[in-house]
């Protein structure tokens, strides 16, 4: 197999230009799909037999929670690739993931709290699912804090990458927390083996929203990656050429 495309990704100018070119291809579909899913979820979908209109919170809560896990997995993967192959762009990608993932995690916790009060009768409980998701937020914040605390960029990259790889064990714990232990949170509706426990009229906006959020993450990651590369390569000759100075 020819690996040149992979090695070319490790070149900062190539990665920078590729990110620039790809961003609109993710950003526009993300905007369209999110708006479509919002309309489908808030207007077209029927109310739930138990939760009534309040169940529409799921259209923001579930996709942000899925993204919080997906972004962390991406970040840990980028960190592992960077550690093993010593690719600086991969370190930059991992660093670019962290604030996005932290935002999705924060949004999942806040929407979950707003969802939990009317449905369960509580804003917060020290439940396995809720607690492990809170730990995920602390992992993101710890990763960002560690990066910021180490001045030497190379050491900051490597040390924080180890933290990102170590923290990935929390991802399966969050997903399976509802089936391994007794939890207030219900079992997965969609991310399970077999058919989703949801009527098709309610399900499609949820899936469209998930795709939209995934594309949004990709677009945000590409923009942040470019900013990260610019900051790291600020003295390189190619940047002066690129910016036409």
């Amino acid at each position: 197999m020819n690996w040149t495309w992979f090695h070319r990704l490790g070149s900062p100018p190539h990665a920078y230009r590729l990110a620039q070119r790809l961003t609109p291809w993710f950003a526009w579909p993300a905007a369209i799909l999110c708006l479509l899913a919002l309309y489908g979820g808030l207007v077209l979908a029927p109310p739930d037999y138990q939760q009534g209109e309040g169940f529409r919170m799921i259209y923001v809560h579930a996709p942000t929670a899925w993204m919080s896990l997906m972004v962390y997995t991406t970040m840990a993967l980028a960190a592992a690739v960077a550690l093993i192959w010593r690719i600086k762009v991969a370190h930059a990608a991992a660093a670019a993931c962290a604030p996005i993932g932290a935002s999705f995690t924060f949004a999942a916790l806040v929407t979950g709290s707003l969802y939990g009060e009317p449905m369960w009768g509580t804003w917060w409980e020290w439940d396995p699912r809720l607690t492990s998701e809170l730990i995920l937020l602390f992992l993101y914040l710890g990763y960002m804090g560690l990066r910021a605390a180490i001045e030497d960029p190379q050491r900051a990259d490597r040390t924080s990458a180890v933290l990102a790889v170590v923290g990935v064990v929390n991802v399966p714990i969050i997903h399976y927390s509802v089936s391994w232990w007794n939890s207030l949170h219900q079992a997965p509706t969609v991310m399970r083996f077999g058919k989703p426990h949801m009527s098709p009229a309610m399900l499609w906006p949820l899936l469209v929203m998930l795709i939209g959020f995934t594309l949004l993450f990709a677009a945000l990651l590409l923009v942040r990656l470019r900013a990260e590369i610019l900051a790291r390569e600020r003295n390189a000759a190619w940047i002066r050429e690129e910016l036409g100075a």
Partner: protein, 178 residues
Amino acid sequence: MTPRRRRMTLVIAILAGVSIAGALALSAFRRNVTFFFDPTQVAAGQVPVGERFRLGGMVTEGSLRRAPGSLEVRFVVTDYSHDVPVSYTGVLPDLFREGAGVVAHGRLAPNGTFVADEVLAKHDEKYMPPEVARSLKRRHGESRQEATPAAAGPQGAPPQPPQAPVSTAAPPTAGAGS
């Protein structure tokens, strides 16, 4: 080539080590991680005596009794092999239903009644429009039997008899406390 191999082995070793440490820690803390105890654990005496704990399970159909003129309610929490009677004074959450999941926080009284000071509703993972729920209830057959109670954990609750009445289509009037 060799240093890269070494780094790859190192990353995999770190991941494996942390996973094993995490698995050991979590299995050691199993009792503490569990959010609630089910009626079988209560019957087996596995709950802390004289201390507050959470009881989780399904509300037995037809067990809800309201004391007239007060907020006091009594109901039975079951995991379909053991039952625990619960008494509670206060407003029940909107999603409290007979046949649906519930988590109560309180103490076990000497007479075996669980005196709760907080009751949370635990809904299941099924979402459907009211019409679908009604028609499912009308032909209550296979679709009700395959449903599992939301409260049953894999090692917490024993396997569930298939004929157990699960609330796929409980009437929304059953327990709204407000």
